[in-house]
């Protein structure tokens, strides 16, 4: 598989979950583990461009796939021809910062990954569609209003 564009080859036990593989074998810890039951979305990454809950996928299922994590999002933005600005952030990350779309920050990587995948499928969503699009991602600080604002703001820019 590739992770953030880099080829990764590891021998793993079949029962290794993708999220554990990313965190422990690949060594990228931006992807968080929240509920571990495919409810909260903290572990959301992109598999071949689409959001997936990496606690509910085996690493072996991702053999040959292109994985993008929060650490590789700016590079994927560049590949999509989006501006990454001076901070080297994906426009969604920039929008989260501008709209103060985080409180404790634990859900943020998953939120950003789900939101970027969502905008690929619906480039000009309504507020209601954004809320539905993020229904698989929970913010236990309940900071949803600013998260929705950030996604709408990023949609306006891209």
């Amino acid at each position: 598989m590739t992770v953030n564009g880099q080829a990764q080859a590891h021998d793993v036990e079949p029962r290794t979950l993708l999220v554990h593989h990313i965190r422990e074998n690949v060594g990228l810890t931006g992807t968080n583990i929240g509920c571990d039951t495919s409810s909260c979305g903290a572990c959301t990454v992109h598999v071949d461009g689409q959001s997936v809950k990496s606690c509910t996928m085996l690493a072996v299922q991702a053999q040959g796939a292109a994985i993008t994590t929060i650490e590789g999002l700016a590079d994927s933005a560049r590949a999509d021809g989006l501006s990454v600005g001076a901070e080297d952030w994906h426009p969604m990350q920039e929008a989260f910062q501008q709209c103060h779309a985080l409180q404790c920050g634990y859900c943020t990587p998953g939120m950003v990954m789900a939101a970027t995948s969502f905008l690929k499928e619906n480039a000009s969503p309504t507020e209601h569609e954004v809320r539905e699009g993020l229904e698989g991602n929970l913010c236990r600080c309940t900071g949803y209003h600013n998260i929705v604002k950030a996604v709408l703001s990023a949609a306006g820019e891209s």
Binding site: P14, R15, H20, T44, K53, V60, Q61, A114, E135
Partner: protein, 272 residues
Amino acid sequence: MIPAAFEYKVADSAEAAISMLGEYGEDAKLLAGGHSLIPMMKFRLATPTVLIDVGRISDLSYIRANDGHLAIGAMTKHCELETSADVAAHAPLLGHVAALVGDPSVRHRGTLGGTLAHSDPASDLPAAVLALGGTIVAQGSGGTREIAAADFFTGYFESLLGADEIITEVRIPTATGGWNYQKFNRRAQDWAIVGVGVAEGGKGISLVNMGSTPIRATAAEAAVANGASAADAAALAAEGTSPPQDNNADAQYRTHLAKVLTERALNAAGVA
């Protein structure tokens, strides 16, 4: 949570999967999108010793509009049903229901064949296939057979699918008559406490989470066919069901919901 150890095999065709099922026997399970099976394995509710990954069989991922029916490959993902113009044109209920399963990330992985094989009475898509009068095509060492959705589900997480069979295709008769789906739940991305699917103006009415399998509300269907009003037909919706009792609802409340939701669904499907 980490599943119990298992051996992982990749099948590159339905035939390869069938031969592996024959080789590894009852301890083997087919893995499609994994969004029902992997959570069960993490809770150790399922402990297969061999997982046969059929999710990579690209030959089983297609949506074809044939004369009179849609043919959908078993490995077609929910997100593909949700966005398919063919599904929207020929069986809009199916595409609509696909978009109500779980959340977008779940729908990027879950497959139609997987959810049917899993046979969860609380799942949305099996009930949609049932209301639409769909047919499930199963292939095994003895050949291929077609099973009507109405016969397919036999019990809680149980179906007619044999130990060495794999679902290869789902056929949905073209259904562009009045349709609706009512999913009642309390939280986003939850399973339905009760759900009701209506196809072809009430010719097909199916119930979610009203028994050990997805079931057709046959008494209500018959009433609609005989010209009953939506309210009168809906009053019969729970007839013959034995709804489960859990933290969300007792059987009496589910019975009430089935009637209310059936009336709403029939009204929305154009039955007065």
